[in-house]
């Protein structure tokens, strides 16, 4: 996607967890509560990644995140949705004013990719 014209016509979709999902996301699985990582991943993030060329996930505006939510959301893209790190890297941008959340989210994907043996 190095062509400037291609970049211009890329379909980009932004998801704000706070505005589009919940200000209090919590839990790993759907059984843990209504705003779990599994729910967010399966109902919002993964469908967007399939449909759009680029997806920006904005983590700001919520109360905060437990690591289980982030791990299930992002690590689960590789574990459950069978995406590769390369595919995710091309499409997904994680924005957070808290470096802890964005770096952990990326690390969970890398850890899961390493576990699954799928690397760049």
């Amino acid at each position: 996607m190095g062509n400037p014209i291609e970049k211009l016509i890329m379909k980009t979709h932004k998801i704000s967890v706070a505005q589009d999902f919940s200000e209090t996301p919590a839990g790993r699985y759907i059984t843990d509560g209504p705003y779990s990582g599994q729910h967010f991943r399966d109902e919002m993030l993964f469908p967007a990644l399939k449909e759009y060329d680029r997806v920006v996930v904005d983590l700001d505006g919520t109360l905060g995140y437990g690591s289980s939510f982030l791990e299930e959301t992002f690590g689960g893209l590789i574990r459950e949705c069978r995406m590769t790190l390369e595919q995710i890297d091309k499409k997904l941008i994680i924005h957070s004013s808290r470096r802890l959340y964005s770096t952990r989210a990326k690390q969970y994907m890398m850890d899961e990719a390493a576990r699954q043996g799928r690397k760049l």
Binding site: A26, L63, S68, T103
Partner: protein, 156 residues
């Protein structure tokens, strides 16, 4: 001494006086700035330590209390405190690139909020929590030590 020699001497003396005043002003300003920076940094490290203690205390309530209402409050305290802690750490590291809390911050965050932290089947067995409690305390101490050790080296 002629009049010209007198005025040359006076001019030199006045010039030296001006230079010394300006140099003195810069030295004093530099000293004040360093003092202010030390104060601000100490304040941030104290805030960091306070958030870590709050997280530890809330995790004790969250994992060991008997009432659901207390769990809910403690959960919110843990989540918001990590967000606050992250902001403090980012501020310290941005202003002082030679220090890094990242490794210890990540370990503390994963330990407290990982596992079955938000699971509906969370295990609140007191024996299990005792082991978790020790680990949380150790990781909290390591995180606090990063700041204290670095501050004490920077301002002996």
């Amino acid at each position: 001494m002629s009049t010209d020699q007198f005025w040359d001497g006076a001019t030199i003396a006045a010039s030296i006086g001006c230079v010394l005043t300006v140099v003195g002003w810069f030295v004093q300003k530099n000293h004040t700035n360093k003092h202010e920076k030390r104060k601000e940094l100490r304040l941030d490290i104290d805030k960091l330590n306070a958030e870590v203690r709050l997280i530890l205390s809330s995790s004790h309530t969250y994992y060991a209390a008997n009432k659901k209402a207390e769990w809910s409050v403690a959960h919110s305290e843990i989540i918001t405190s990590f967000s606050t802690l992250g902001g403090i750490i980012q501020r310290i590291e941005t202003r002082n690139p030679e220090v890094s809390f990242q490794k210890e911050e990540r370990a503390f965050y994963d330990a407290i909020t990982g596992g079955d932290f938000e699971s509906k089947d969370i295990d609140r067995d007191p024996k299990l929590y005792a082991e978790k409690c020790r680990r949380f305390a150790l990781l909290a101490q390591k995180l606090q030590e990063v700041g204290e050790d670095w501050f004490n080296k920077k301002y002996p």
